[in-house]
Symmetry: C2
Subunit: 481 residues, 2 copies
């Protein structure tokens, strides 16, 4: 942790000052250590604490008395192992001397833009064959903010996102959340201009009502995707045992999430898939979806997944059908292309056919979005299909998700090329379909509850002009839920 | 196609002879071309046909008359575009002259052991930046056989398997299946010693009853995993439009699959995940499952997924609880390890703790299998945990699936290390849980219907001693369904 902060400072990524405090060492990592907080020759804004639990309240008091406003308490040994009194003492000391706390029992913060990085897990490790491998990577800078109760889940999430080229805005592992909890974090990142979508991993909530009220407000600005573990009896029992708090009935969460417009992921993979979609595509306005493909099978599976999620995959309108007939008559589309939905351009589809068909579908006012399959195995498909498709999507402002099934070089290159042009791309039909569902589901909520003006093609939740983003703040005390 | 066959022959991978027949060229790829089949100076066992549809029946007749026994008809332009009469003619000619047909309208066969490879899709392509990329790769040799009605799905499946280091035994894309259909393919690969698990992708069946009868027999030898597209109204309509045949009610398929002991995957990802599990682990005997983890969150999500699939995640038995208490008293496990299920060894878990806890769980006769989480982000975890875990699993003969969530270097290295030792490893909790479900589901079917003797720790379906594997045959005519 100290190492990462020092490296980030030395490389000019972290612009602030870093002081090490440790009474047992004069130097750590060639950096001077101060024997106590009061020896530090500067006002300290934020203190990161990783010392035995029993000593934490005293350090908080010392910090508060010298004007420190925020503390990230990495230390464990509080409520999570039954030491509730110690945690209450920590909180009461913090309130008394006006210090806000993230934690305890957490990984803290990784901010991809400021270089603030309190993660203490080893970034690289050595395998038994001598190889040095990245163990806990940091994803590249992006627009996804991840809030997680569980540190272990958080580390795995960073690892997944880094390995799948997803960009992060900020990571907050808040652990026991004795002070700052989900509600304030949502409030803060709701107003953060760099955050396009908030991911929230929870096992149980302590201030559920406050969270839901804050979420309602945040959701009007940007989507929140929640992953709530503990749906079944066994899962709920496990969650209760893990967090110490009662996990509560899953139906209560389900209802509250729906009421607040929070999109719930069914599993971990969806959690990230939805984030990828929201980071790149606008919400949908209409639940009737078209599927455009050059491979029959994957299209069918997408139709299943869309319909099972509550979206419609209807045959095309008369008007659009007539256009397709005209294109076929002119030789612009193959005669065997069917007017049903999915629309199968067949394995002979070219870039021009994709562009024409996609544009026609997105022109149809009844169609709210498209799941697009571009299976690159067909001899006619090269990456020159990406630009015309992406330009067409941009012009229309309706959500589109892409699938190219496969795991080897060209599949990866195609998906990367689509993503670079703003099209979220998946290796599985069902994942592309479910991600489009998330976009439409969010759009429907905004239509009913949002303050956005409708009618503009490019409307996006983050474009809400009626509310000015608040100044960046470190969770001030008056916002306490 | 010709290129791959010639390369495989030149490299000594394909041990047979290859003759090119094309009346328009004297040479293709520096290899002599014969002007007609009758000009080939050797008996031809199998003929691969990729010529215009109208000429195919005549070539089949010519081949049959000179003693050829099998034909793979790549050519399209038959029933799939409405030319049913031509397809009927093809079949009647083939029957008359005793030639068995795979296809038409298919990719044909890739046999990883003999080098037989009729795939005509470009193996490499060039991106617009000049990069040469593998477009349609061949997976390494392994024990998974994939049968697919859809060629496009087949190509994507090979691509996925290659990219995810899954080994293939044989790939058959059978297209319109005018002659050889799923039933005979199941019969053949049911007796194939190299095949440990059969994957079957279907959109609709024409000889469903025959298939189910054959499957019942095959399933007693080895698991069959089916992916049936077209579950919903939209999906069924799409499937009907794609294959030309009626896709039929999904409930009928569901019932038939269950009756035959075929494991049905809910989506494409499960299709491959289950294959990975069956290729490496034995079926389960008992539906009570333990979850062992060093990270709370993922364990909870696995508990949810197991219980939702119909398995039990019960608190541990008194006997096993007592053993855990003893280990804690001796300092072999941490005092905070809970006796609930999931069993959370915490982020301080070591290899020795894993081995001890896993062995104790697998010793419990009430526990039918374990979902094991080894999140490598914890400072104590290195790849030295793999061998003790794998040895413990081998000794017990109960199914275990592994999860290490993450997408970067060490996550991949850990999963590879586990797989090398026979433990199917996943990046998502739910996928590890569902794959264990598939193993237990199959085991339950075998318990009720199978000819295996029970009681042996290492019983596996392919170890069925009561039936000798049949000699390898190319789908002889008397087996026609």
């Amino acid at each position: 942790m100290a190492e990462t902060m020092l490296t980030n400072r030395n490389q000019g990524i972290f612009k602030g000052k870093v002081f090490l405090v440790n009474p047992k060492h004069e130097e750590i990592l060639s950096e001077k250590c101060y024997s106590s907080l009061s020896a530090v020759p500067s006002w300290v804004e934020t203190i990161v604490i990783a010392i035995p639990a029993l000593s934490v309240p005293q350090v908080i008091e010392e910090a508060g008395n010298s004007g420190t406003k925020a503390a990230i308490v990495i230390s464990s040994g509080f409520a999570e192992i039954g030491n509730r009194e110690l945690e209450e003492k920590l909180l009461s000391v913090a309130r008394k001397c006006d210090v806000r706390i993230i934690g305890p029992n957490c990984l803290g913060i990784y901010d991809a833009y400021t270089g603030m990085d309190t993660l203490f897990l080893p970034e690289v490790k050595y395998l038994s064959d001598g190889r040095e491998v990245v163990a806990t990577p940091r994803p590249k800078a992006g627009s996804i903010t991840l809030l997680t109760q569980s540190g272990a889940f958080g580390a795995a999430a960073l690892d997944y996102m880094a390995g799948h080229a997803m960009g992060i805005r900020c990571f907050v592992s808040y652990g026991n959340r004795c002070d700052v909890a989900e509600d304030e974090l949502l409030e803060y990142f709701g107003h953060d201009e760099r955050t396009k979508v908030v991911l929230l991993y929870v096992e149980g909530l302590t201030r559920g009502r406050g969270l839901i009220e804050r979420a309602k407000d945040t959701v009007r600005r940007k989507p929140i995707v929640a992953l709530k573990a503990g749906r079944t009896q066994a899962g709920t029992r496990a969650a209760a045992s893990h967090t110490g708090a009662l996990a509560g009935s899953d139906k209560v969460y389900e209802g509250a999430f729906r009421q607040a417009g929070i999109i719930r992921a069914r599993n971990v993979e969806e959690f990230f898939d939805f984030a990828r979609a929201f980071a790149l595509q606008p919400p949908g306005q209409t639940k009737s979806i078209a599927i455009l493909t050059n491979a029959g099978g994957p299209g069918i599976m997408a139709a299943d997944a869309l319909e099972e999620s509550g979206l419609d995959v209807r045959p095309l309108s008369e008007q659009t059908l007539a256009k397709f007939s005209e294109f076929k008559a002119k030789g612009l589309l193959l005669p065997i292309v069917s007017g049903h939905n999915p629309i199968d351009l067949t394995a002979e589809a070219t870039s021009a056919m994709y562009q024409l068909a996609l544009s026609t579908l997105l022109d149809d006012p009844e169609i709210g979005g498209v799941v697009l399959f571009v299976q690159h195995h067909a001899p006619t498909i090269l990456d020159d299909v990406v630009d015309p498709v992406a330009n067409t999507v941009e012009r229309h402002g309706k959500p589109v998700t892409v699938c190219d099934m496969g795991g080897a070089e060209m599949a990866q290159a195609m998906r990367q090329a689509f993503e670079k042009r703003g099209l979220p791309s998946y290796s599985m039909p069902e994942r592309a379909a479910r991600s489009l569902w998330a976009l439409v589901n969010y759009g429907s909520y905004l239509k009913q509850h949002g303050p956005m003006e409708h009618g503009s093609k490019n409307e996006r939740p983050e474009g809400d002009p009626q509310r000015e983003p608040q100044k960046s703040r470190i969770f001030p005390a008056e916002d306490r839920g």
